[in-house]
Structures are given as structure tokens and as C-alpha cells.
Subunit: 155 residues, 2 copies
């Protein structure tokens, strides 16, 4: 299958200057504020976004080099298949975070619940819609006995 090339649409500005001590999920990062700087050429695409309280960010884990098919997740001490984890060390290192959108000023999005490293290239922004994006399930595999550690665990 042929390669797919994307061009970042912007960059994440965050208080986390390196991939250490970062909350391991946006859901565990209640207070961290940051901004998204969208390249001016895409500003028209932000129309109507401000009505959404939460947005989905897709971004490139730019500080990751290479990948492993089995990884030790932050929440566990056993090797797990990388696709059964949210580890950044994946074949295509695309990250996904759901963050709170508080304000848009021209090409700058003000956000909260940030778990992304400063300088991360942004690939896409989508509106978060519970009816599309929420599933009720309790079947969460190996994470079941580990999830209670989420709030206390950092990268």
C-alpha cells in the first residue's frame, strides 16, 4: 500500500516542554491550559467551531522515533500489543486527545485538559459529539484493573 502524506495544519503550544511528567490522558489533565495555533490559511475552516465545548485533536507524536509492536504501558508493567495501548510508539504515531475549547481568537484556539507536548504538529480538529463518540462499555481488557491509577500516573 502506498504512503500517505499529510501537512500539519498548526501547532500545539503547551506548558509541557518535553515528553516527561505529562498527564497520560487528557481526561486526567483537568486544569492544564494551552493554545492551538492554526496556520492562517486554514482559519476559514474554524467557522462554527466555537459552539462546541469539546474538540478532538489529531496530532503527530513528533518526539517519538521508531516503534515497537509490544510496549509496556504507563499504567501496567507487562508487555502489551501496541494496538491494545495508547502508547505513542506506534507504527503511525498519531495521537488523539479530547480537550475543552474555551475560546477562539482568529487562528488561536484556547484549550483546557491538555496532555500534549509543546510544539506538537497538529493534523486535524474535529468537533466532539457525544452521540458519535461515546460508547457505554465495561470491556476494556487489560486496563480494567489498572484504570484507577490513571489520575496519579504521568509519563
Amino acid at each position: 500500500m502506498s504512503a500517505i502524506t499529510y501537512k500539519p495544519i498548526g501547532v500545539v503550544h503547551s506548558p509541557f516542554k518535553e515528553p516527561k511528567n505529562v498527564p497520560i490522558q487528557a481526561a486526567a489533565s483537568k486544569d492544564t491550559k494551552g493554545t492551538i495555533e492554526v496556520n492562517p490559511e486554514y482559519v476559514e475552516g474554524l467557522k462554527d467551531l466555537e459552539g462546541f465545548s469539546h474538540i478532538i485533536l489529531l496530532y503527530h507524536f513528533s518526539s517519538v522515533t521508531g516503534y515497537s509492536l509490544t510496549v509496556k504501558p504507563f499504567l501496567d508493567d507487562k508487555l502489551r500489543g501496541v494496538f491494545a495501548t495508547r502508547s505513542p510508539s506506534r507504527p503511525n504515531p498519531i495521537g488523539i486527545s479530547i480537550v475543552r475549547l474555551t475560546k477562539i481568537e482568529n487562528n488561536i484556539l484556547h484549550i483546557q485538559n491538555l496532555d500534549i507536548v509543546d510544539g506538537t504538529p497538529l493534523l486535524d480538529i474535529k468537533p466532539y459529539v457525544p452521540k458519535f463518540d461515546c460508547r457505554r462499555t465495561t470491556e476494556i481488557g487489560w486496563l480494567k484493573s489498572k484504570i484507577s491509577k490513571l489520575a496519579k500516573t504521568k509519563s
Copy 2:
């Protein structure tokens, strides 16, 4: 910012042979079954995934050419900023679907709630975890008055 290149990790096999009459969200596609064929080189990364009832698929909207910064969503008749919609016609045409995982046989994932066109290149698989991925919000912008049409609307 420099270009980012990804290599598909597999392909989606679906009863939807073209991007017409496809449910516009996985949440509205309760019964549609399909499979994901993961390239054999990545099979080791699927370890531990079978314990999760739902998975997040990231894929490339390969049938889309070009993009628009404002689009008319399937659920609306007004032009909206593309980043305030889930339209495939986006600068980086990355799609996201949450589907039900029913079985894994070697490199084949059996899934339900499919809203993806046959032959779509797959970029990533992540486990769906409500604690990471569910947000309670009622602020869904322009979609608020349109969401009730979801189940009846197709592409």
C-alpha cells in the same frame, strides 16, 4: 512545517463499495459487519486487543480528492467551517470511527457498526476506553438541532 508520511497498517473490508449510502457515523450503523485486514508484519501489535469490546479506527479517506474550508454537512443545509464538521473533505483527510470488535483471527479483526468504505487504508487501531474517550457535554454547536436526524441520514 514539514510533511508527515504514514504507511497504512492494513485495509478495511466493508459492504459499502462506494462512498454513497454509507451511514454517516459508526454510532448510526448498528448492524453493519466488516473486517479489518492488518498487514501480517503488524500482527504482534494486536496482542491483548481482544479484551476490548470497542476500538478506535483511524483511516485515510482515500476516495476524497482536495478539500474545502467550508462544507455543507450531511445533517445540515448551511455552509459550516470544515473543522466544525466530520466531513471527509478536510485538509488532512483522516477519519475516525469507533466500532465494536467481535473477534480477532490472526490478522483479521471482525467488527460491527461499520461506517467506512471498502478498501479504505487503515492508519491506526487504539483501544476504546470510556474513561479516556467519553465527555459529558451538551454544547455541540450547530449540531444541536440536527442530531435527531442522524439515524436516518446517509451519505
